[in-house]
Symmetry: D2
Subunit: 139 residues, 4 copies
């Protein structure tokens, strides 16, 4: 299990003094980047520079509690499914143990030269699969 | 039915040259603002200044096709349900007749002084209800 | 003289309920884009797609008065100097006749394939020069 | 002398794959926040919550070299002048020893209840003054 922490900055706030929700969506991408370097062992900018993109095609997000200025948001990143050319990810955000958001995304792997879906390279597939939570025990 | 059009700016783009998806989430809020002044007949900033907030508590969004620099995104805004202190909205984005995103949000109406849910004021409830699509015919 | 108008959106605000100043810097770029289509007669996205970039290398900006939610910011765009591979621009923002910012930028024209400075193409140079304010009368 | 480091995220990039300059302006505010907690010894969000604001009234910034995805930008923060109700700050950004930007800002200290200028509280004035670089030796 991988968790990263993102600090809420002044520029993330809205007029109500809480994080504006599109900025929390941006936090998901930041957590995805941190997951690459921190859990898969490769910086995302390197993988991106090699021509792989991961555009998000689906997003579901619940905002459970307001996120305030200066909060440290702990984001737990979980791989839920590794498809041939897709990744199902989950992001659970909390501040000091209180859940603040819960999100699921589906990203498609694309070849940045053609912007067409492409299978995950095997080295990356292996790392994502190794990051899957253990299957529940069967009898 | 209400449709507003938002121009994709340079600042909305990502390194792939397409709209970065958190910025498309921001488009939903802009469409909500345009819906107020264009369909409900009150500018959102006025309503907000009077102490009503509409934080988003749930978001579902599909990104169907890339959105490019200079695109005019037509966003059809539909009220799906008017609750006591909540609004279910739908946003369907298209560019020149091609669907680019489909989103649903749930917003809660809050009193900005307390940040607690509050019933929709009756004048606003009436306008949102008048904006509901007609019920399908029954036999 | 060219003026464009930009509406202040919820996403532009900071926790003080006024436009966050980096977002007003973004307004300068939006005004530059509007100047292309509205005054030079070519949409900026088209010019950009043809491989010309205009990165800003210098910015000076005074924030004269707070910009509020729902404000329509009128931005007067002036060409101050047309260099071989550079443009000196001025942006004067006002709301209902009250000045809110005053900015100068220097942009360099680059070939996007090499990201190296390149002379302004002659068709574009002519249009920028035609946009220069008239010289003051001499005796 | 105080230096903080900010990572360039995917959301900071423009279509050219480099940091969009309004986002680098946002980096200045992030560096100002880090300066509070790291050098003055109080988190900025706390000071802000107590009712002090620091709106920027003037900005000068040179963009010396492109900033790329994944860059760690080291920002040296210097206090240049401490006025009664104003602060002159300097921000020098570098990546691996190469200068990428150089900025100066003037912020005004305001009482957030009235949004009017207010003198720096003495505790904060002392800390800012202690952060001034030493005067050059005189004979």
């Amino acid at each position: 299990m991988f968790t990263t922490t993102i600090l809420v900055r002044f520029g993330d706030l809205d007029a109500a003094g809480i994080a504006y929700y599109p900025n929390l969506v941006n936090f998901l991408h930041e957590a995805f980047e941190d997951f690459f370097v921190g859990h898969l062992g490769r910086p995302f900018p390197e993988v991106y520079a090699e021509g792989l993109g991961f555009p998000t095609v689906k997003l579901e997000m619940e905002f459970l509690s307001p996120v305030h200025y200066g909060d440290q948001v702990d984001i737990r990143v979980t791989v839920e499914r590794v498809g041939r050319s897709s990744l199902h990810m989950r992001y659970q955000g909390s501040v000091k143990g209180r859940w603040v958001f819960n999100a699921r995304t589906v990203a498609v792997i694309v070849d940045m030269k053609t912007f067409r879906p492409t299978p995950l390279p095997s080295w990356l597939r292996e790392r994502f699969q190794a990051a899957l939570p253990p299957a529940p025990p069967t009898e």
